[in-house]
Symmetry: C2
Amino acid sequence: MILARIHVTLKASVLDPQGTAVTKSLHALGYDEVTDVRIGKFLEVKVDTTDRAVAEERITEMCEKLLSNTVIEKYEFQLVEA
Amino acid sequence: MILARIHVTLKASVLDPQGTAVTKSLHALGYDEVTDVRIGKFLEVKVDTTDRAVAEERITEMCEKLLSNTVIEKYEFQLVEA
């Protein structure tokens, strides 16, 4: 078993209104030291294979096809034994 | 500046319907090797301080008060220089 730990985040050039809302909420709670919040997704995908090279290729495909919107998001992942 | 990289994930005992939906979609696309998907949040919070101990304490507070629902979610974070 291999576990892919995938981070899907908005590209730097894309506005993050959810992050802006959280920043404002943190300021309202008194956390004035917060200067920026960006919010993304964290996916843990478990695959039944032991071949890391194949897993890497397949996970990349999944990210491109389903797990991220590559117009506005980028993704990166690490593979760990599970 | 310190950047907190925060992972907020559902506790292991909590069902993840969004993850189940993604698993099914991946199977429909032919990725039958996928056995489980769990979906969480990934937050990057930038704070204007250089004191790591203070940052750690404040970020923990933010996670407890606003960034996670500790009834069903757990959080962990790393601090990096930004």
